[in-house]
């Protein structure tokens, strides 16, 4: 492991890679701050640029963007009560009241320090857990992988917003359907191409991500421009206040950060759960463990209430790298995008990644530490200046997002058809978003579609067409039992709420 850490440090500490972490953190923070544009959009916009680098550098850039965007989301949560990403919704519960009390600077500083601590602690957990998880996952066979993918897709649907399970499952199926377009990987038989040569190679991952996130995000913002419920609120930047944290506040944070980082990391490791669930759970747990006096302050500007979700959401970001790097199963929508980018680089994540490509595996883990430090160094002094980005007029922002989306596709294929297809998918996605059909399950399914079919093929061929492979191995049966438990728990919760 020491050798791996040294390889990772050598790769991560090159001038180019440090620069990439800095650039990633900076742009991620800016994009994450803009309401509606989260880490997924930020990473999707970066994909065409990363293809100009080697895999390690490209991934380091994306990891920097990821952390930056999560922190940026907290900034708009605190200043505008408009979370840039779902993972920072819980941050606004106490962050925004603090800002209204004239303590915006302090709230941003607490968020920055908590994010830093949460991210650093979870990077340490990741450092020790990832190799052992890799060893465990070496015993995985095709049926286990197939079951794990079913679990991941079910979990992301079950953990989506209230009452959205069926909608999310429909999006999962749609994502898998889109992934099935093109040549069959084994027989080369074309499927769903309707004799169109442009579809023979299937639909590009970047195209689907750009269409469902960046482009449809931009179209949704324009569409809802006059909607009073989504109108952006303005903030008085003169009321940022001091960014210093006093001793009493620090003491509160010392207690909150360790427990929230453990929750965040463990939730992040679960496929499909991610930063949103982690931040809400950490907030809820924190409210239960603090004194009655402190409990009263929750929702009115509590330091614990702000620190807990901020620690947890960054810890979950690191945690979500575990299943992606060790199993090839993304822990969140954002890591699904990164997994797609990895596959685009020709790197197959999985238990053997840290043996076959140790420089990629370890440099990502090492760059997380570096990313956390840089995020703190960059963001603390720049808080008042970064906040001004929130004033970027949408008249400029929207065309620039569309421009980046089209450029991404143009550079990849030099093909008009792909641009039309992207616009078509974006229009459908915009309409679906309007009626609360979630997009992350679609992306996760699209990324996993090929792998899922491949593992089902192997399992069915090995069992001679019998579905007994689902319960023949204890591990497969356990994973499927967990999937069934998640579905049953979800149905139970829905009925309980109704009654």
């Amino acid at each position: 492991m020491i050798e791996g850490i040294l390889i990772g440090l050598t790769t991560a500490l090159t001038f180019q890679n440090i620069l990439m972490v800095m650039v990633g953190c900076f742009f991620g923070t800016i994009i994450g701050m803009l309401p509606g544009l989260g880490p997924m959009t930020a990473i999707a916009l970066m994909i065409p640029i990363t293809y100009g680098f080697d895999p390690a550098t490209g991934l380091i850039l994306m990891a920097g963007v990821y952390y930056g965007a999560v922190f940026g989301g907290s900034t708009s949560s605190i200043l505008l009560n408009a979370p840039g990403v779902p993972g920072t919704v819980a941050t606004s519960f106490d962050g925004y009241p603090m800002a209204q009390q004239g303590k915006a600077g302090k709230a941003l500083a607490i968020a920055a320090w908590s994010s830093f601590a949460g991210g650093t602690l979870s990077a340490i957990y990741l450092l020790f857990m990832a190799p052992s998880l890799s060893k465990v996952s070496l015993s995985f066979r095709s049926p286990d992988y197939f079951a794990l993918m079913i679990l991941g897709l079910t979990a992301i649907a079950a953990f989506s917003s209230k009452g959205q399970f069926l909608k999310a499952m429909m999006m999962v199926v749609l994502g898998l359907m889109l992934a099935s377009v093109g040549q069959d990987s084994l027989s080369d038989i074309t499927r769903f191409t309707f004799n169109n040569m442009n579809l023979t190679d299937g639909i590009s991952f970047v195209l689907v991500v750009m269409a469902t996130f960046a482009m449809s995000e931009a179209l949704t913002i324009i569409l809802k421009r006059n909607d009073p419920t989504s109108a952006a609120k303005q903030v008085s930047l003169t009321e940022l206040g001091s960014i210093k944290i006093n001793k009493e506040e620090r003491t509160k944070m010392y207690k909150t950060i360790p427990r929230s980082s453990i929750i965040g990391f463990l939730i992040g490791v679960l496929p499909g759960a991610g930063a949103t669930i982690a931040s809400f759970l950490a907030y809820g747990m924190e409210r239960n463990v603090v004194s009655d006096e402190e409990k009263e302050k929750f929702g009115k500007g509590s330091v614990n209430g702000l620190s807990a979700p901020e620690t947890a959401n960054n810890a979950a970001c690191s945690g979500s790298f575990v299943p992606m790097l060790t199993l090839g199963i993304p822990g969140s929508g954002t890591t699904a995008v990164m997994l797609g980018a990895l596959l685009g680089f020709g790197v197959q994540p999985g238990p053997r990644l840290y043996m076959t490509n140790p420089e990629i595996f370890w440099s990502i883990i090492m760059s997380m530490y570096i990313g956390m430090v840089i995020l703190l160094i960059l963001n603390l002094p720049l808080i008042p200046y970064i906040a001004r980005i929130l004033a970027v007029p949408k008249n400029y922002l929207i065309p620039l997002i569309l421009f980046f989306s089209v450029t991404g596709i143009y550079v990849m294929s030099f093909n008009n058809f792909d641009i039309y297809l992207m616009i078509g998918i974006a229009v459908v996605a915009t309409f679906l978003r309007l009626y609360d059909f979630p997009m992350p399950p679609l992306i996760l399914a699209f990324v996993l579609g090929g792998l899922m079919e491949e593992n089902l093929r192997r399992s069915l061929l090995l069992s001679n067409g019998s579905w007994e492979f689902l319960w023949d191995r204890t591990l497969t049966a356990c994973i499927l039992a967990t999937t069934i438990l998640i579905v049953v728990w979800h149905i139970y919760k829905t009925f309980k709420k109704k009654n």
Partner: protein, 156 residues
């Protein structure tokens, strides 16, 4: 059963899944693969049935969280124009070239979204695209096809 837009979308998804399933059954497989435990049409067939199942459930079950969209507040016209500009951009980018079409696309989009600060609009289109092109083509060595710049001798 209440008919709302979510139900209509579910119905459309149901029809789409039925069409997908029909097309999946039409996939031509090799003769020796026809009765194999798994062939090119197996997975799509399962997906077709899954689509029918979930959209069917959504259609039948009551919808506790009905989404109400106030269409009066939605900017359909501007969104439509922006989509149209993007389609024209996509149609011309290969023939005319990256620089001119992208700059014009940005300029036109700013204009249709209501912007009238001409100098800023210009700076954030032509020089901005030139700088971006230099980053991609000049520094990152990513090829950008541009017949227009080639015709005037700016690009090799």
């Amino acid at each position: 059963m209440n008919i709302n837009t979510t139900k209509i979308i579910s119905l459309l998804f149901f029809i789409f899944s039925a069409f997908y399933l029909y097309t999946a059954y039409q996939i031509q497989v090799f003769a020796f693969d026809e009765n194999a435990p798994f062939n090119a049409r197996t997975f799509p067939i399962y997906l077709g049935y899954a689509g029918l199942f979930f959209s069917g459930l959504k259609l039948i079950l009551p919808d506790p969280n009905t989404i109400k969209v106030d269409h009066k507040n939605l900017e359909y016209k501007k969104t439509g124009i922006l989509i149209l500009i993007a389609i024209i951009y996509g149609a011309t980018i290969l023939k005319v070239g990256y620089f001119l079409t992208t700059s014009l696309f940005l300029f036109a989009s700013y204009y249709f979204l209501g912007e009238r600060r001409w100098i800023l609009m210009f700076l954030l289109s032509f020089p901005f695209v030139a700088a971006f092109m230099y980053l991609l083509h000049g520094i990152l060595d990513i090829y950008l096809r541009d017949p227009f710049l080639q015709s005037i001798g700016v690009m090799g």
